[in-house]
Amino acid sequence: MSENLIKPENLVYQKTEALTDRVMHYCPGCGHGTAHRILAEVIQEMGIMDQTIGVAPVGCSVLAYYYFNVDMQEAAHGRAPAVATGIKRVFPEKFVFTYQGDGDLAAIGTAETIHAINRGENILIVFVNNGIYGMTGGQMAPTTLVGMKSSTSPFGRDTKTMGSPLKITELIAQLPGAYFVTRQAVHKPGNVRKAKKAIRKALEYQKLDKGTCFVEIVSNCPSNWKMTPVQSNKWMEENMFPYYPLGDIKVPEDN
């Protein structure tokens, strides 16, 4: 009965062409895959695969250029916004995005992040915040929550000696160059749909030369949080969302 539904005319969802067929190296249940996919879907839906240049960071998504079926450059750790600036300034008509994690964007690359946005570089920054250094094995990130254990804060993050989790998104939202700033998640269907809409908006604004658009995606790290993917998503809702509340942080005034 059901097999006769599997016909091209009934197709309602399939993997986008803007992702390659390579199996992603991410751990099971990691939000990176979903974040990649919705960004790729928007690129395909807008018909801009041939006009998009992405910049991959250093971190878990260092190999993002294997997965996005668009031209990409791999940047040094934290330097993606500077690399994207170089690309966008010589190719102002192309769509340029960076895809960065919390260590890359909010620790080693803080200066590049703030100044690219302060110049209002007409790029999209996708910021995946899972509160930990995933690739190097679960060290403390600038966004690690207070009391949260990591391999370099084995007794929990102590604000007295380790500082507080950095709300970089709220911080950069104050810059005049930031046009659209939002915080989303990709763990549930409703969140994925909203996050995708935000990315779509951001790339539409880029077409209109509006300035920097910044989409944070609060995500999970099942491996380094030492939980199952489903548990990690629940933990994220209970612990990450209160500190990093979802929703738009800066919306265009002229809209």
Partner: protein
């Protein structure tokens, strides 16, 4: 024109697409000249003052990855900051032009001229086995000409090229002949990120190979390229070498002072010549080796504590005596002390 300004004008005329920089003495005139002369209006060239040298070199990476003619300039402490990006550019095999108007170090050092970044420029600077093509101008004219040549070599070999100047060349005024404005070229390279072509795989720029076997292949390719550069691109100037019994060698501004010492020596009847490497990498190994059979000794004069002298010694491989004379920390040698050093260390030594 002032050296730094002439170099900046040459960049516009060479059809450069983008300059990314950060102010530092004694090279700030490069970005100041560019900002004042509106290359955006003249040729469409982009000029951007970055938030740091680190950001500037990574902007160069981004623009160079798009196949554009991109450049940056700085002076020693700023060049140290750029080393990370330079290593990535060399690893990803991107063409670009770097200019180092060297000042005395280490650390914050001094704003006075120096040649103490020879090792940094020639032997690596950043991490990994890589080479820059290093051009050492001795005149403002050469600073201008090497901008054009530098971009040509960078694209010929897909390799970063450095003009290693110093505070003397950068700050002094000389007559120059500027070449005619060259057009900016729309890039059409297979390796560049220009936007994915339909029915072709996407292009990516990276210096990462997680598999050691693959990374070794990358290194083999780089080394083969460097051998090719060593074969084809060596440049030097020889003065009074035919009958020379002794040899001076020096590069950049220091070679001008050494030339004066050579003339003084000749006036005293000492048969001394001068070999001035114009490319510090590739180094004129064969030329030194040949001259080593002829001369009784070589004095290497540098504004550092002895850097190029190591390459001279490697080149002659023990065939003749090689000594070093240097002033450093921003001090400039005078011809008298150079001549004196020749008499003490080489002739009398």
């Amino acid at each position: 024109m002032k050296g730094n300004e002439a170099l900046a004008e040459a960049a516009i005329r060479a059809g450069a697409d983008a300059y990314f920089g950060y102010p530092i003495t004694p090279q700030s005139e490069v970005i100041e000249y560019l900002m004042a002369n509106k290359p955006e209006d003249r040729t469409g060239m982009v000029v951007l003052q970055a938030e740091s040298e680190i950001a500037a070199i990574n902007m160069v990476y981004g623009a160079a990855g798009c196949g554009k003619k991109a450049m940056t300039s700085s002076s020693s402490p700023g060049m140290s900051l750029k080393q990370e990006g330079i290593s990535y550019i060399a690893g990803a095999e991107l063409p670009c032009l770097l200019v180092n108007v060297v000042r005395g170090g280490p650390g914050l050092g001094t704003i006075q001229p120096s040649q103490s970044d020879y090792f940094q420029s020639v032997k690596g600077g950043g991490h990994g086995d890589y080479k820059l093509i290093v051009l050492a101008p001795a005149t403002v004219q050469e600073s201008v000409d090497y901008v054009k040549l530098g971009f040509e070599l960078a694209f010929k070999y897909r390799n970063p090229v450095m003009i290693q100047s110093d505070g003397i060349i950068g700050q002094m005024m000389e007559k120059v002949e500027l070449f005619e404005q060259m057009p900016r070229v729309e890039p059409n390279y297979e390796w560049a990120t220009l936007g994915k072509k339909t029915d072709q795989p996407a292009t990516f720029i990276t210096s990462l190979q997680l598999q050691a076997e693959e990374q070794e292949k990358v290194n083999h390719r780089l080394q083969a390229k460097y051998r090719e550069i060593e074969k084809n691109e060596v440049m030097f100037e020889k003065i009074n070498c035919d009958d020379a019994e002794y040899l001076f060698t020096a590069f950049g501004s220091c070679a001008r002072i050494t030339r004066k010492a050579m003339e003084m020596a000749r006036a005293k009847g000492i048969k001394v010549g001068l070999l001035r490497p114009q490319t510090l990498y590739p180094f004129p190994v064969d030329e030194f080796n040949k001259l080593a059979d002829q001369v009784k000794g070589i004095l290497c004069v540098e504004m550092n504590a002895g850097q190029m002298v190591e390459d001279v010694r490697l080149s002659v491989n023990g065939k003749t005596r090689v000594e070093h004379f240097g002033r450093y920390g921003g001090m400039i040698p005078n011809p008298d002390e150079i001549l004196n050093a020749l008499e003490q260390k080489i002739i009398g030594g």
